[in-house]
């Protein structure tokens, strides 16, 4: 996948301009033959400001999927991440929530606003994953959903009369919840990540991490990292997509030391040292969600929202979507696609379904 090709497509199809979270300093290009000393201030660097203004007007989409066994705190974590009740907690004990017989896909959208920037956040829940006695192929509905979103986008792209801004329902980030057994990954975890790391950005996290002591956490993380490596599972941020040395060193540190993030979620506040903090109150102490000595929630939040949000979208668009598109066009002999959705990757063959 040549970078130049991707850049071209960025101009044509990235109809939503998004501001860079950390604007890189403008490097003046040396035009041929002309002295590089500008005679005065032109104002090219205001492009950053213009992009920011546009983004604030148009807002942007972000789609995050949560996968894991029921009871691992998925909904609570999403609510904590986005500091609002965006995920309907099925943990309200009063209601009779039966475990669904097959994996369901539930997408709920919200618009949240911060500092004048509007984000259309869609949380995709997957109740029923891993809860049955027989969990063979329970990842197939999830893979199918992800591919369906790529198909939708592809169809819009291929239209003669294209929309000004193609609605982006593609899954940008998939948070995979690992159960804190303290032993190792479960076979189901491996199977899921093996299949899905090729189609979507997977961010593995260790759920309900307040059940492990510091040593247990370190050991468990090391073991999980090793297992993922041994099994060839590339979680986000993938090594092969590091753009430059700066990215590489930053991501290496995250990949080899911090991930998978051991998190604790909560939507209740308690008074600690005169401050109101989000936490969990146990008879032996209060676990503070945003305290880095207690858990790594703050690291996860900064990672997903404050530093890598844009990158998650770009990798989804430039890499995963392009892979899907290329396979689709190849299957169709280089022509734009007609009806149908691409079947999942050869690992789990199933008949192609007609989309809509």
């Amino acid at each position: 996948m040549s970078k130049g090709f991707a850049e071209n497509r960025t101009d044509v199809t990235m109809s939503e301009l998004v501001a860079e979270p950390r604007p890189k300093p403008a490097v003046p290009m040396k035009p041929l033959g002309i002295s590089s000393n500008l005679l005065g201030y032109i104002g090219i660097d205001t492009i950053i400001e213009q992009m920011r203004k546009k983004t604030m007007k148009t807002g942007f989409d972000f789609n995050i999927m949560v996968v894991g066994q029921s009871g691992l705190g998925k909904s609570t974590l999403i609510n904590t991440l986005f500091k609002s009740q965006v995920s309907r907690k099925s943990a309200s004990w009063n209601r009779e929530e039966k475990i669904p017989k097959t994996v369901e896909i539930k997408a709920i959208g919200h618009v949240i606003e911060e500092g004048g920037v509007k984000m259309k956040l869609t949380v995709i829940d997957t109740p029923g994953f891993g809860d049955q006695i027989n969990n063979e192929n329970c990842w197939e509905p999830i893979e199918k959903y992800i591919n369906e979103q790529y198909e939708k986008f592809l169809k819009e792209e291929v239209n003669i009369a294209r929309k000004k801004r193609i609605p982006d329902t593609r899954v940008h980030c998939c948070l995979y919840f690992i159960s804190p057994t303290g032993h190792s990954l479960r076979p189901l975890d491996l199977e899921f990540m093996k299949h899905l790391s090729k189609v979507v950005n997977i961010v593995p996290i260790i759920a309900k991490a307040d059940t492990m002591t510091l040593e247990e956490k370190m050991e468990f993380k090391q073991r999980v990292r090793k297992e993922l490596e041994v099994n060839g599972i590339e979680f986000y941020p993938q090594k092969e997509f590091d753009e430059d040395l700066e990215d590489k060193t930053e991501n290496d540190k995250i990949r080899q030391e911090s991930m998978p993030f051991a998190v604790v979620g909560s939507d209740k506040e308690y008074q600690v040292n005169g401050k109101r903090v989000l936490g969990r109150k146990t008879p032996w102490g209060i676990i503070e969600v945003e305290n880095l000595t207690h858990c790594e929630f703050a690291l996860l939040r900064d990672f997903v929202i404050r530093t890598h949000l844009q990158d998650l979208k770009e990798v989804t668009h430039n890499i995963h979507y392009e892979t899907y598109r290329a396979r689709r066009l190849n299957d169709n002999g280089g022509l734009p696609p007609g009806e149908g959705v691409l079947p999942p990757a050869p690992a789990s063959p199933c008949p192609a379904t007609i989309a809509e």
């Binding site: 076979p187 059940t211 297992e227 032996w284």
Partner: protein, 365 residues
């Protein structure tokens, strides 16, 4: 004249002395998904390190693992009373992607022990019957779920009429007190809904003192027990060192009744209901198995198999029993081993006595 005194009030203490001499046997099974703190809890309960050399397999090794049954034996002695504890473990339970029927090896194992006992009981030489029946099954429920999972329900339904089930919530330090209450309530409701029979604590006699009654009621209220296990000692600030788990935000203490139900579980399992568990296993569960077994043999379909139509308990000669994998010679060897052990113990005791009397003689001289 003195009141008539026959003296059979001394019978209980005679029984006590006899049973102390004989020693106690108890078989405890632990079941549940891996990673719920089973081994740590067993080590905490019996203050032993039964799982010292355990290797935890990684996920790719577990992909093709089937359920195995492991037995570990340990002899615990406290104040002259010996308990021969056998632990039955079920590694691999619920680990695979497809766990259909993964409980069958467990069911078969429990039934095999019943079969063995039935054979022994109906055999000629009944002096050294060894009771390897499972007296209690601690079933670990995950604190991360929302109650019983489909696999939990399937397992419990398969074994509840064959073994005393004591449900336990493992790694209870993952829950706040309120969450614990809600989870316990949910589990109790589900057990009732699914008609699963767990071990019922017998009601205490009306002549027990108030304290005991209160303790008993508390214990019944806290089922399923939410436990924390630990073999490490923590020092939490100014308090004395206790067994627990040290976190950055505090230390969860194993033996603190406000933190978890470990003390209740230990009291129930070891201090008050050990004998009752054995009795229920023998009087209720084993008898149920025996009745089913013999009834099925008495049915016409079984006639071809056994060639017998009449069965009576009194005939100690040939009773047609379901085929057992255990060879007779193995059983004989076991019995002989047991006799040998007893004789060795007697010998040691006599030697000690002789030495003592010799010492006394030399003192006198």
């Amino acid at each position: 004249m003195d009141k008539e005194y026959v003296g059979f009030a001394a019978l209980p203490s005679q029984l006590h002395r006899k049973s102390v001499k004989k020693g106690f046997e108890f078989t405890l099974m632990v079941a549940g998904e891996s990673g719920l703190g089973k081994s740590t809890l067993i080590n905490s309960l019996f203050l032993t390190d039964l799982y010292k050399d355990r290797l935890i397999p990684d996920a790719s090794a577990r992909l093709s693992q089937t359920l195995t049954i492991e037995r570990r034996g340990v002899e615990i002695e406290e104040e002259g009373i010996k308990v021969k504890l056998t632990l039955v473990d079920t590694p691999g339970f619920g680990d695979a992607v497809d766990n259909g029927d993964c409980w069958m090896p467990v069911v078969r194992f429990i039934e095999e022990q019943f079969e063995q006992y039935l054979r022994d009981e109906s055999g000629l030489n009944r002096k050294n019957i060894q009771d390897s029946r499972v007296h209690c099954c601690l079933y670990f429920i995950s604190p991360f779920g929302r109650g019983l999972r489909p696999l939990d329900v399937a397992f419990l339904r398969a074994v509840h009429d064959k073994v005393n089930i004591v449900p336990v919530i493992g790694k209870a330090d993952a829950l706040t007190p309120k969450e614990t209450q809600i989870l316990k309530q949910k589990i109790r409701e589900q057990l009732e809904e699914q008609e699963i029979n767990i071990y019922q604590f017998p009601d205490c006699d009306s002549d027990e003192d108030e304290d005991f009654k209160k303790q008993d009621a508390e214990m019944k209220e806290s089922i399923p027990f939410a436990v924390i296990g630990s073999s490490t000692v923590v020092r939490d600030g100014a308090t004395r060192p206790v067994r627990g788990r040290l976190y950055p935000w505090g230390a969860a203490e194993v033996e603190n009744p406000h933190h978890c139900d470990f003390l209740n579980l230990r009291r129930m399992l070891v201090q008050t209901h050990l004998q009752d568990l054995k009795e229920v296993t023998h009087d209720l569960l084993y008898e149920g198995y025996r009745a089913r077994c013999l009834q099925s043999l008495a049915r016409p379909g079984a006639r071809e198999r056994t060639g017998r139509s009449k069965l009576s308990r009194q005939s100690a000669t040939e009773i047609p029993l379901p085929m057992l994998p255990l060879a007779d010679t193995e059983k004989l060897i076991r019995e002989k081993d047991e006799e040998l052990r007893r004789m060795q113990e007697m010998l040691e005791k006599m030697q000690a006595q002789m030495q003592q009397s010799q010492g006394e003689q030399s003192d006198v001289l």
